[in-house]
C-alpha cells in the first residue's frame, strides 16, 4: 500500500501531528523544537520570566505540568518543582502521579519538593471534603488547598515566580464558563500573568496558555515524558470537561476557534477595550492564623476549612 500520509512541512518525513489551526503538520523530530519556540514566544510576549528568576513549577505528574517544566529546564531557567500529595487513594492516583513527578526530576537532575496535605495538616483532600460535607465539590476545595499551599511554599522558599501548566483549553473553558454565567470578578482576574501583591501573593504565570491541550500531550509523548494519563477520579463529570467538549466541537467546525476566543479576550483586556469591575472590596490583608493574603476578614478560606465548625467560603481569596 502506498504511503499517502501527511508529511512534515519542515523535513518531509511522515507527520506525527497535524495542527489544523496553524495549517501545519510536523514530524516527531521537528515538533519539539517548534513547541518550545512557541512557549518561549509566549514567555516573551507577556514578560513572564526573567533569566534570573527563581522559578517554582507546580507539578501534578500530568502532561501539562511536566511538559512546561521540561521546556523551562531546556530553555535554561532555574526551575524547581513542587508536587502536592493530595492523598487521593483511588487506583493509587496520588502515588502514581507522585512517582512520575519524582522520576521526571531525577532523570533531569532537578529538584522536586513534595508537600503532603495529610502529613502537614492532618487530613488528605478527600478526607477533608468528607468532613466538610463537600464530596460533590471536591474539585473546588482541592483547588483552594492547592492555591494556598503553592503560594505559601513559593513565598517561604523565596521563589520569585510560580509557574502552572494551564493550557489554552483550560483557559478557554474557564473563560467560557465565566462568560456564560457573567462572572465579572473572575473575568477581571483571568490573564496569562497574575502579578505579585505586596500582601504576599507570589507572581503566577502560565507559559502554556496559548498551546492546545492536544499539542501539549503530543509534546509529552514525542519527548518520552512519562506522565499520568488517568484522569483524576474526582474530575470525572467536572464542568470544565463539559465546556472543553463544547469548545472542541467548535474547533472541529472551525479550526482555531478556541485560540481566537481566548486570545481575543486577552488582547481586549490588554488594550483596555473591555474592562471588568471585580465587584466588592478586594483589598488583601494577612490571615490572622497563617499570614497568607486573603480578602476575607479574620481567617482565610483555607484556614477556615480546617476548623470543624466554621463556614467555608470557596473563592473569596487567594486569586
Amino acid at each position: 500500500m502506498g504511503d499517502s500520509r501527511m508529511r512534515c512541512r519542515k523535513c518531509g518525513r511522515p507527520a506525527a501531528i497535524n495542527m489544523r489551526r496553524h495549517k501545519l503538520a510536523l514530524c516527531d523530530e521537528c515538533y519539539p523544537d517548534w513547541f518550545r519556540g512557541q512557549v518561549e514566544r509566549t514567555i516573551r510576549q507577556f514578560g513572564m520570566l526573567a533569566p534570573d528568576d527563581k522559578v517554582l513549577v507546580a507539578v501534578s505528574g500530568g502532561k501539562d505540568s511536566l511538559s512546561v517544566w521540561d521546556v523551562l529546564l531546556r530553555l535554561g531557567y532555574h526551575a524547581e518543582g513542587m508536587y502536592i500529595d493530595l492523598g487521593i487513594p483511588d487506583g493509587g492516583y496520588s502515588t502514581e502521579s507522585k512517582v512520575r513527578a519524582l522520576r521526571f526530576a531525577e532523570a533531569r537532575g532537578a529538584t522536586c519538593h513534595v508537600v503532603s496535605v495529610r502529613d502537614r495538616y492532618g487530613l488528605s483532600v478527600p478526607e477533608l471534603a468528607l468532613r466538610r460535607g463537600r464530596i460533590r465539590k471536591v474539585c473546588s476545595l482541592c483547588g483552594l488547598v492547592k492555591r494556598h499551599i503553592m503560594n505559601r511554599f513559593a513565598r517561604e522558599g523565596g521563589f520569585s515566580v510560580l509557574v502552572t501548566g494551564h493550557n489554552l483549553d483550560d483557559e478557554a473553558a474557564v473563560l467560557m464558563q465565566n462568560t456564560l454565567t457573567w462572572q465579572p470578578g473572575y473575568l477581571a482576574r483571568q490573564f496569562p500573568v497574575l502579578p505579585a501583591d505586596d500582601e504576599g501573593l507570589v507572581r503566577k504565570v502560565k507559559p502554556l496558555c496559548l498551546m492546545y491541550e492536544r499539542e501539549v500531550a503530543a509534546y509529552a509523548l514525542v519527548c518520552g515524558i512519562d506522565y499520568i494519563q488517568d484522569e483524576c477520579p474526582h474530575a470525572i463529570g467536572a464542568r470544565t470537561l463539559f465546556y472543553k467538549e463544547i469548545l472542541n466541537q467548535l474547533e472541529q467546525r472551525s479550526p482555531g476557534a478556541k485560540a481566537y476566543f481566548f486570545a481575543q479576550f486577552v488582547r481586549a483586556k490588554q488594550s483596555g477595550s473591555i474592562q471588568f469591575a471585580e465587584g466588592g472590596e478586594r483589598a488583601l490583608h494577612a490571615c490572622e492564623q497563617c499570614g497568607q493574603p486573603t480578602t476575607a476578614p479574620g481567617l482565610c478560606a483555607f484556614c477556615r476549612l480546617w476548623q470543624s465548625d466554621a463556614p467555608t467560603g470557596q473563592d473569596e481569596d487567594e486569586a
Binding site: 507527520a15 501531528i17 502532561k63 503530543a218 514525542v222 484522569e231 467538549e245
Partner: protein
Amino acid sequence: MVVVRYRGKQYELKAGMTARDAILKLGLDPEAVLVLRNGKLVDDSVILEDGDEITLVAVVSGG
C-alpha cells in the same frame, strides 16, 4: 484486523480506514485524542494496516 486500545478497552477494526475514521467510528472526538501506531505518534490521516496496534491517548483533563 487492527487492534485499537482506548482507556483500558480493546476494539478490533478492519484495516484500510484512516485513524481519524477509526476515532469517529468509536464515537470519539478527533480533537480529544492522539494516535499511537505501534507506540509511535502519528497524525490521524494514517491508513491503518493489518497487524497495526493502535493506542488512542485521551488528551483532555479537567477538574
